[in-house]
């Protein structure tokens, strides 16, 4: 830290400005010989000029102390990566003036690195390494990166992960209460429920290891797998509907009504149930997630079901009356 100094006198300030201009002209390499002579003249004319030029030389020395092309690339990328993570706080000077509100909203979120979504909310996140996450409705996740590994702890709900290459070669892991998912350069979703955890792989592959087992199962692109703390299911082929939630709609292909309503419940408050006699009814279609009332209306009209609302928070789906 350079200690604060009293401000420059106007003549000193002016000398510094000229020195900087001379630096720019000399660096252009234009007409070098003649410029150099003119510069010498300026330099020798005034002690203030010499003083100012020393400052320019000090900066020059610093610049020359680093290997050029590597420095250029590091400086460019560091700004880009900071921008990715800390969009609004890029400007160093801005930090002081932003004050507490800025700190709490942006930095606080990034640094505390615990993310939580409310009902019906989805949130996109970009992590320090450039990996991208989409956190689904009613989910909670901690980001815990260190020198050894890039770790996410999925506390509840569901997340879509797109990993970035890591310069430090750290593994990318997602922990859920049921076990660990290790990314092998990839895009995948992890969803944790009370009884099980489900993984769906969209690109490349992941490795799944239940918390209380030594077995490891590889899951390839286009596959899904369920596991709990002990048991590891067999991978099965996903259908086109997998991870459709990320685009704000729920796509069902021959999906039992009971499951579909469970899925919709994620995005709305209150209780959503169906009559057990129709829980197995197979439903196909696309349902909007940001407006689950519309999704219910679509079920009502398209599949001959009856929606009964005791209150907005207590909704039952019943067979149509004969």
């Amino acid at each position: 830290m350079t200690p604060a100094r009293p401000p420059l006198a106007p003549a000193e300030r002016e000398a510094l400005r000229s020195a900087a201009r001379w630096y720019a002209r000399l660096s252009s390499g234009q007409d070098a010989q003649a410029e150099r002579q003119r510069w010498r003249h300026w330099h020798d004319a005034d002690p203030l000029h010499r003083q100012a030029w020393q400052q320019v030389e000090a900066v020059q020395q610093m610049v020359e102390g680093v290997p050029g092309s590597i420095a250029a690339s590091a400086l460019q990328h560091s700004r880009a990566s900071r921008r990715r993570v800390l969009r609004q706080l890029l400007v160093l000077a801005g930090v002081g003036t932003l004050g507490w509100s800025g700190w709490d909203s942006e930095w606080g979120r990034v640094l505390r690195a615990t993310h939580r979504t409310g009902t019906g909310e989805q949130r996109a996140l970009v992590l320090a390494d450039g990996s991208r996450l989409l956190l689904d409705s009613r989910s909670a996740l901690d980001v815990a990166f260190d020198g050894e590994r890039r770790l996410l702890r999925l506390r509840s709900g569901r997340v879509l992960v797109q990993t970035a290459n890591d310069a430090l070669g750290r593994p990318f892991l997602v922990h859920s209460p049921q076990g660990q998912v290790r990314a092998l350069g990839t895009r995948f979703t992890v969803q944790t429920e009370a009884q099980f955890c489900e993984v769906a792989v969209l690109e490349k592959a992941v490795e799944v290891r239940p918390a209380d087992s030594d077995r490891v199962q590889r899951v390839e692109a286009g596959q899904q797998l369920r596991f709990d703390r002990v048991r590891l299911g067999e991978p099965w082929l996903s259908d086109a509907s997998v991870a459709s939630w990320r685009s704000g709609s729920l796509i069902a292909i021959q999906r039992p009504l009971g499951e579909l309503l469970d899925e919709l419940s994620r995005y709305r408050h209150g209780w959503l149930r169906c009559d057990p006699s129709i829980a197995g009814l197979k439903i196909s279609g696309a349902f909007p997630l940001d407006d689950s009332d519309r999704a219910l209306a679509a079920l009502e009209s398209g599949f001959g079901l009856r929606i009964v609302r005791r209150t907005d928070y207590w909704v039952s789906v019943l067979p149509a009356q004969g």
Partner: protein, 171 residues
């Protein structure tokens, strides 16, 4: 040791005894890493000691967390830069790899340069980096950034003046 020094020392000591605990907790919440938090608590108090300000602090919590906040920002800037530097190094053949010491010195200098350039506008900063570090000629820089030669010249002067002022602690 003068009476003033003694008073300062005891005030610093009290400050540490009273506030290091919650400051560590405050930092841990933000850093998600216990050992980083402990380091930054120490650094925060080192700043206080160096500034010889322990006697004048009216609102210690606010003061300490403001100092700590600056250090957290520095830490994150450093991590971002470190990562970019390592990425840039990774492109080199193995025998061109600098030693650990050289790397540390370069990184330190890069941090300082990064800090100097940070509050410059994008085009000015780019101009300076292309001409100074990539070694492009002014006409090449002009072409790359789509600006006139005259503007390149002005940007270079502006960047240098800015760096000098920051280095002198005037910005």
């Amino acid at each position: 040791m003068s009476a003033d020094d003694l008073a300062l020392r005891s005030a610093t000591h009290d400050l540490y005894a009273t506030h290091s605990g919650w400051l560590r907790g405050w930092l841990r919440k933000r850093l998600d890493c216990g050992s980083d938090a402990a380091d930054l608590v120490q650094d925060t108090f080192v700043r206080v000691i160096k500034a010889r300000q322990a006697l004048e602090i009216r609102q210690p919590r606010q003061y300490l967390s403001t100092v700590a906040k600056g250090l957290v920002i520095d830490l994150f800037r450093r991590r971002a830069l470190e990562q970019s530097y390592l990425e840039a190094l990774a492109a080199l053949p193995e025998d061109a790899y600098p030693s650990q010491e050289t790397q540390a010195i370069v990184l330190e200098t890069l941090m300082e340069i990064d800090r100097m350039l940070d509050s410059l506008g994008d085009k000015v900063r780019q101009t300076f980096i292309l001409a100074q570090f990539e070694g492009l000629s002014y006409p090449k820089v002009a072409e790359r950034l789509g600006i006139s030669l005259r503007t390149v010249n002005n940007h270079m002067a502006k960047a240098m003046e800015h760096c000098c002022l920051i280095r002198m602690g005037l910005l």
